[in-house]
Symmetry: C2
Subunit: 314 residues, 2 copies
């Protein structure tokens, strides 16, 4: 008889189901904590299509104990983290870089943001941002805090960002380490800053403003459309004259081979500096206890109460 | 007393002026032929701003004889080619890869298009296009013919293009070597083709159509706006979902160090294959005789009579 576990399925909530069985190259992990991200909320509400070969159990990142080896690990997964047990791909599984009782909670908040930031800001390896001016939208978000801290740690000459109120701006500069943070409700950041690299998750009306502030040879990376995917009237002249690059990606749909390469680079370049405390990540504003609390976490996320990451501990 | 020469100055026409003096790192070339390009026409009509440190003598490419060494050379220049003598940067000067009486005319038609195509299609070196599907707008133009021939020569699996009438389409396939050419006045190319790399010089309303036909990880390079630089209502969703890259550039404003790198790569990878005839370039439809004929060349260019390149022989 198969072992049973509790898990959160998209659109259904907490259910009892069989513990999944790992295949070669996979690791069965007893979940101790998982990160709570916006895509799960969207998926739970029916707005985020899942590939048919993927589980409908929510969750993209977790930390826990590998059943067979007893190793403590964290991992990026294509789904399945909101459960007492989760299958991970061993190529996307990393050691836990922290000590202490909160090590699972902290490690569970790493994979989604560190993979995303490495993929999109370090396209030429660890020296990509050296001496560059980097501008990050939504600096108080999980991606934002991670991008700011990693850009600073890997030699960006200036890291600037935006947030929605002065309290969050103070958090971005004083806690996360940005050089300047603009209140996007009151300040015209595109008139104040020039950037070599921009990380954006807003889209829409921000695109022409970004083109304006980009320097010769700059790159804009778009990760989402918290605003709208549609830009009315886009003039591309600056793209030619300044030799700009505009690109975008969704981590979840990247090929596993690319994710495995990112994982290797994180292990080599980022994990030792997380362990030493030199990179002070993650920033977690809310920790929830027990799998049933996922609904509270979603409610807080819907109300945008968090700063940095939210984690649920099992 | 300084030697005098005839030259074409922007907005002024043919004038007598002093032969310029080369500085260290420069070569004085006795011009035998120069390429006629649209930017010169625009510049002559006042529509193309020139950096204040550059000559207002027209012309971006030439072939001739180096005064001091007697070597036969061709070169990319920032201006000055429409003249009996021209100063070239020795880092942007190449040997003439051809034999025969028409070797100067043919070589004068190479620099602008080969530098542009190498910069924009071979960003990862000579294997960039290997196995890729490449779509080139305006295949009968100077850039178009060069892009098609070089993409085929460097291993693209499929090279498709567009032209404005059936006669030019036949030229693109039967003479230049494209696999398919769409008549852009009658055919919906974006419904027929998928592309990994697109080279565009139209912009405007083409941008959304290009995003539609781009495959996962594809790149769109924009070199000009023969249409308009403005796109009405651009939806960027495909950029994220397909991890697309949009970029653009103007060769003329690229740093000299980058042009020098491109020149080295052309010398190593392209010039030997031009010499052997393996890459059948350039395609020249009009040759003009004598510096006063520049006005006839501009008139034909204004009427878009040419296919491939126009060259003026001195």
């Amino acid at each position: 008889m198969s072992r049973m576990m509790r898990a959160v399925r998209a659109g259904k909530g907490v259910v009892e189901m069989a513990v999944p069985s790992p295949e070669p190259g996979q690791v069965l992990v007893r979940t101790r904590a998982f990160g709570v991200n916006r895509p799960e909320l969207l998926q739970h509400e029916g707005g985020y299509p899942v590939r048919p070969d993927q589980t409908d159990v929510l969750g993209l990142e977790l930390a826990g104990v590998a059943e067979q080896s007893g190793e403590e690990v964290c991992a990026l997964v294509g789904g399945g983290a909101y459960a007492e047990y989760c299958i991970t791909d061993e190529r996307l599984t990393l050691p836990i870089p922290f000590q202490g009782d909160d090590r699972f909670v902290r490690a569970a908040a790493l994979p989604e943001t560190t993979f995303t930031v490495w993929k999109n800001l370090f396209w030429d390896g660890p020296d990509t941002l050296k001496g560059k001016s980097v501008f990050v939208q939504a600096g108080a978000s999980g991606i934002g805090t991670t991008a700011i801290a990693m850009a600073k740690a890997f030699g960006a000459s200036r890291v600037t960002t935006t947030a929605r109120d002065d309290e969050r701006c103070k958090f971005c500069t004083d806690v996360v380490g940005a050089d300047v943070c603009y209140n996007y409700n009151t300040e015209e950041w595109e008139k104040e800053e020039k950037a070599d690299v921009i990380l954006d998750m807003v889209g829409g009306s921000y695109l022409p403003r970004h083109l304006k502030m980009m320097q010769q040879g700059a790159r804009l990376v778009i990760l989402g459309f918290l605003g709208s995917p549609v830009t009315e009237k886009l003039n591309m002249t600056r793209v030619l004259l300044k030799n700009l690059t505009i690109t975008g990606s969704v981590l979840r749909s990247a090929p596993d081979s690319e994710k495995a390469r990112i994982c290797e680079e994180l292990k080599r370049h980022v994990w030792p500096r997380l362990a030493s405390g030199e990179i002070a990540l993650p920033h977690i504003s809310h920790t929830f206890e027990g799998i049933d609390a996922y609904a509270d976490a979603f409610e807080d996320m819907n109300n945008s109460k968090h700063k940095g990451k939210m984690v649920l501990r099992l």
